[in-house]
């Protein structure tokens, strides 16, 4: 499953670094070729293509466009104007909801959307790191939903059950959330190690099980239900265990965002600098070679899933301790588990990539709310754009074909044999 980590493994990007330009192309041409065909440009173009597809849907279903197209042959200009109004309006709202509200009176309220983007990105980054880590071990973690639910529930339960002073309560609750996610995902690793059960199936099933389990606990007095109510809702999180706002209560972004940055660093250290990460990567790239080299592949599956679950559990922590400190109900995972998969894919399982992908999808999300409120465009458009981005990114040849771009390192691509013989 090495493709999972880099859907574009057939693309020898690294070749760009090979200092072997062919005599017919100059160094400069080669560099240009690599940039134009390389992964950064592909990513940008993929986002662009997905936005175009979204625009087509917006235009097709816009009442103004439909009306104007009724007399298209009489006055085609009206149709184009209507399309421009619909699409332009929608994407303006998207921008205003994601980056800067140009209609705001003060700068402080103008950047509110940007802050919303950061807070929407936070759980995506946590989740994306967890999914990415599993990818690196060659595992497909579709169980984000369950891990968020269990992680969040752990964090919440610890937060209101063991009152403690401020930083301590928060830290303990965060750790509990990590443990919750780790346990839930660890089950998957354990089952895979013990029985070979396919993790895709098991993680999906555990999502449902977690959902019903949390639903049950939320309506069971003495479990997760807030005392004195009948609603399936948890008690509020005590202030000492809440993640405080990063720039005060004016903005939605909390210290969880800082935690997300720290998590990305932790991920980087784990995967690039630690021996455990080395083993994870070895198992992900070639489990049989890892086994032959004395690495306990099954143990790595268990550790890896547990750590991945810990990261995803942090997304649950964010939902419970930052997003909805007033108490949660059974849907607090908010579909983040699946969003996180697209984040990990777009971020190519690299820490910086996941971080940036999280920001991008966070921006789409928070912009989507405003687009829905202002332009009456269903927020599902975000889902469409998001999945199209990932599809395009995964198939660079398609994007290149659409834009007529060159293959990276095209002509000077060298065979293994000649490299070896010459060197």
């Amino acid at each position: 499953m090495s493709e999972t980590t880099q859907p574009q493994t057939t693309e020898p990007e690294q070749q760009a670094s090979a200092p072997t330009p062919s005599p017919v192309t100059t160094r400069g041409q080669q560099a240009l070729r690599d940039i134009m065909g390389g992964s950064f440009v592909i990513s940008v173009l993929a986002v662009f293509l997905a936005l175009v597809a979204g625009a087509v849907l917006i235009a097709l279903t816009d009442p103004g466009v439909q009306h104007a197209s009724g007399y298209f042959f009489a006055r085609p200009g009206d149709t184009f104007r209507a399309i421009w109004t619909a699409v332009g309006g929608a994407y303006t709202s998207l921008f205003q909801g994601a980056i800067f509200n140009t209609g705001a009176f003060t700068f402080a309220s103008g950047i509110q959307p940007l802050m919303n983007t950061l807070s929407a990105a936070t759980p995506l980054i946590f989740g994306g790191l967890g999914i990415a880590l599993a990818f690196r071990i060659g595992l497909f973690n579709i169980g984000g939903q369950g891990q968020i639910l269990i992680g969040g529930a752990f964090a919440g339960w610890v937060a209101w059950s063991f009152p403690m002073p401020f930083p301590l309560a928060l830290i303990v609750a965060i750790l509990a959330g990590i443990v919750g996610g780790a346990v839930w995902a660890g089950i998957v690793g354990w089952l895979k190690a013990q029985t070979g059960a396919h993790e895709v199936i098991v993680t999906i099933m555990l999502n449902y099980i977690a959902f019903y389990l949390i639903s049950f606990l939320l309506r069971t007095p003495g479990a997760l239900q807030a005392p004195g109510t009948n609603n399936p809702k948890s008690p509020a999180i005590p202030a000492a265990a809440q993640l405080p706002g990063l720039f005060g209560i004016r903005y939605t972004v909390t210290w969880a965002f800082v935690l997300a940055i720290a998590a990305a660093f932790a991920y980087w250290w784990l995967m690039s600098r630690s021996n455990l990460g080395f083993r994870f990567r070895a198992v992900g790239e070639n489990p049989s070679a890892a086994r032959t080299a004395g690495i306990g592949v099954e143990r790595m599956y268990i550790y890896g899933m547990a750590i991945a679950g810990g990261f995803v559990g942090l997304a649950g922590v964010n939902q419970v301790l930052a997003t909805a400190p007033g108490g949660f109900s059974s849907g607090f995972d908010a579909g983040l588990g699946f969003d996180a998969i697209t984040v990990a894919l777009l971020g190519r399982s690299r820490p910086l990539g996941v971080f940036i992908a999280g920001l991008l999808f966070g921006a789409l999300k928070s912009g989507g709310y405003v687009m829905q409120a202002a332009n009456n465009i269903p927020i599902d458009i975000v889902l469409i754009v998001q999945s199209l981005i990932v599809l395009f990114i995964a198939a660079p040849p398609l994007v290149r074909a659409i834009f007529g771009l060159p293959k990276p390192g095209g002509a000077p691509r060298r065979s293994r044999r000649t490299v070896a013989k010459e060197a």
Partner: protein
């Protein structure tokens, strides 16, 4: 050296000496269940009676209801499960593999005991409708699983079943209500499934993207598209679109009169009969026709197929499309076959369960269908027990199908063999 007289090496299959590798999986699993039986049926025994009802009031032939005393039956059956579990330990200890029928018998005993325990009370347990519901609930799973089996037999992992079901459901509702023809609705469902399959095929076969990734992303995409289409198209014109239309039941004369079996299997709408036919056709096709031989060859050893002149990627492409058509048709069951109209995300993860049925069913259309029926049964057991009142909280009953699936893939299936090239793109 003369060749004609060279010693001809033994051409018989290599028959190596064989000893049974002891697998304790089955005894462990049985013991867990037996323990559960003891705890529930004996320690938490429920006094009173359990009534099993077999006939519906309008049945022509009637089978009398059976009423049993809950506690004694539960206790006896709990003891039977314990004995059976012990027997399985003994068998494995002697190197005998626990036969499949033994496990199946154990399951039946446990289930009867569980029903006697859980259904205790003055409401009878309607056995016929329990089974009927199992069949109807499994129909989309059967379609999805057939789509999965064909795709994977051809070497393409089809995680996009969910998207195909959902796309089929959406398009069938759209087209049927727009044209007023449910037949066209069925056709539209199949076409929608094919379109989703095209995306899968293009990315998996042409662009060599990991098939699980494409599948998952396609599911997100189709969810987004159908939600968007629902809000912007179907819900925008409720006078004309997404009107409730359901396929009529067509009882099969004669067969539908048989008690229990008749209503359970032979009194359904056309789409359920299509499912029956599809299962038989896929089974026959896969194992007895040229098409099936080629599909399996392409999924097992694409290069070998290529060297005998079979167009591997073409075969994969068209069979993934066919699989999409079948799964898409299953999507129509959600709308035309049962609810009558489309609602957002109405497939609710059934595609993933169908995928589990494919694996549980070891890539065999018949076994996958049986697996689908099992999931249908587990789901409907939850419904039925919820109605007649059961001591188990509804959420735990709702978890049942998912727990069963985990048990299935972890315990019972083990490392069964997928088609060798399943999930691997073919590059010359």
């Amino acid at each position: 050296m003369t060749t004609a007289t060279a010693p001809v090496p033994d051409a018989s299959p290599i028959v190596l000496e064989k000893v049974e590798v002891r697998s304790w999986k089955v005894p462990i699993a049985l013991s867990v269940f037996a323990l559960g039986a003891v705890v529930l049926f004996i320690f938490f025994a429920r006094s009173g009676h359990t009534e099993f009802r077999f006939s519906q009031s309008e049945d022509f032939f009637r089978i009398p209801d059976v009423t049993v005393a809950s506690a004694p039956v539960g206790i006896v059956l709990a003891i039977v499960t314990v004995v059976m579990a012990l027997l399985s330990w003994a068998a494995v200890a002697r190197g005998i593999r626990v036969p499949m029928w033994f496990t199946a018998l154990f399951a039946v005993v446990f289930m009867v005991g569980f029903l006697a325990w859980a259904a205790q009370g003055d409401r009878p347990l309607p056995v016929t409708s329990l089974l009927l519901g199992a069949v109807t609930l499994s129909v989309p799973l059967v379609f999805g699983a057939l789509g999965g089996v064909i795709g994977e037999r051809a070497g393409v992992v089809n995680v996009a079943i969910e998207g195909q079901l959902l796309g089929g459901a959406f398009c069938s509702a759209l087209v049927a209500s727009a044209t007023g023809s449910m037949t066209l609705g069925l056709v539209a469902a199949a076409i929608a499934g094919v379109l989703v399959a095209f995306i899968l095929a293009a990315f998996a076969i042409k662009y060599l993207v990991d098939q699980v990734i494409v599948g998952v992303v396609i599911n997100v995409l189709v969810t987004g598209l159908t939600n968007f289409g629902y809000s912007k198209v179907l819900a925008a014109d409720p006078e004309h679109l997404n009107k409730r239309m359901t396929l009529p039941d067509l009882p099969i004369p004669g067969l539908s009169e048989i008690p229990v079996i008749g209503p359970v299997f032979f009194d359904h709408s056309i789409i359920v009969y299509i499912a029956y036919v599809a299962v038989a056709a896929v089974w026959y096709g896969l194992f007895h026709t040229k098409w099936g031989l080629r599909v399996r060859a392409v999924g097992e050893h694409p290069k070998a197929a290529d060297t005998v002149g079979i167009n591997v990627n073409g075969t994969r492409f068209w069979n993934v499309s066919l699989a999409g058509a079948i799964a898409g048709l299953g999507g129509a069951f959600f709308t035309l076959g049962s609810v009558g109209l489309f609602t957002k995300e109405m497939t609710a993860g059934q595609g993933y369960i169908a995928l589990a049925a494919v694996i549980f069913g070891r890539w065999d259309p018949i076994r996958a269908t049986l697996a689908a029926l099992l999931f249908g049964f587990a789901t409907n057991l939850q419904n039925t027990l919820g109605i007649i009142g059961s001591p188990v909280p509804s959420e735990f009953l709702l978890m049942l199908p998912y727990l069963v699936t985990i048990f299935a893939v972890a315990g019972l299936v083990g490392k069964s063999r997928a088609p060798a090239a399943d999930g691997t793109p073919y590059v010359k």
